[in-house]
Amino acid sequence: MKRCITSKDFNRFLEDSLDPGSLARLQAHCRECRTCAGKLESWRKLKEKLSTATSIAIPDGFKEKVMYRITNERILPVRSVEVKQGLAVAIILTAILYGIFRPFLGPVLSGMASNLLKSLSVVLYNFLSAIGIDPSVLIRLFGNIMANFQKLLPLFMVTTALMVIAFILLIVKGRTVRQSG
């Protein structure tokens, strides 16, 4: 009797990856060898059961629904690697320059921040007055917070700066939308 069929060959049979010659040899051997014929049968059963147990049907009209949805979408531009690298280099350079010139830049930057804060305070004061709220109440509240929690000042400055940036962006975006519309 010829050499029996290995599990790996049965496995290849299961996934239809046996070449025609090997398939013919396997079938011929299984006609002579009862053991291998039994194994082939069990592998065949497994193949059938695997294909039924794991079968899954795509919902009707799935492709059409996807295609309909993408008609309302547009492909987003990708930020190129060069832009990302440039941004990273700029951040690192800025950090290095700030580290070197910190003794000179420190007072200048804090002066700028202080002026910005003052300007914002004026805007806020006028805004609150305009809508009928007494600014002194809020100023006293803010003064108390700052007096008790001085460490919060940088956080407050950063938050204010972010709010201003967001505000400007909203105005710019609104203008862009109006222009395109």
């Binding site: 069990s42 799935f62 492709k63 949805r69 547009r74 987003l76």
Partner: protein, 174 residues
């Protein structure tokens, strides 16, 4: 036509070519979503969402990788986000549980006995064997695609699927 060629055409505003990609990968995407969500409606929603996300980010697709593994990752992330929002996250070990969503009542009665044993056996497999086995048989992924998706060498994928089948066959004979 190769996937990257279709992507290139889509990027040139030939949106209709995206249909070919949907055609090719709908089974993979839906079956993956199904394994994670185990709910036909949720799986359909997540699959649609995955295709829409893929379309919107086509420009960032890197043709060095297979489209199948790229969209499979998008699908997995979409399902994870969806489950996180719903706060009933299915453990990854249970994600590849076998359940047929499309069985009619008759099929359920006829096939239940023959299928249930195999299903139980598959579900009883170690996830490292079950996952590649299900990706191969349920999602219809090829060995190299599974290897890229799972980030393991193809030889390991082949070996695990082979061992999974061998374990199933032995268990069925017992």
């Amino acid at each position: 036509m190769q996937d990257y060629e279709i992507v290139r055409l889509c990027l040139q505003d030939r949106t209709e070519y995206f249909e070919k990609l949907v055609d090719r990968y709908q089974k993979l995407v839906y079956s993956l979503a199904w394994t994670y969500l185990k709910d036909p409606q949720l799986a359909e929603d997540a699959s649609q969402e995955a295709f829409v996300k893929a379309y919107k980010h086509l420009a960032s697709y890197n043709p060095e990788y297979k489209f199948s593994t790229w969209i499979a990752r998008i699908t997995t992330n979409t399902c994870t986000d969806l489950l996180r929002k719903r706060k009933d996250l299915c453990p990854i070990d249970d994600a590849f549980e076998v359940i047929d969503p499309e069985d009619t009542p008759e099929q359920q009665v006829i096939g239940r006995e023959t299928k249930s044993r195999l299903e139980a056996l598959i579900n009883g497999l170690d996830p490292k064997y079950k996952q590649p086995l299900m990706l191969y048989h349920l999602s219809g992924m090829k060995y190299d695609e599974i290897a890229e998706y799972l980030d393991v060498p193809m030889s390991i994928v082949k070996n695990r699927i082979y061992r999974a089948r061998k374990m199933l066959r032995q268990a069925m004979e017992d």
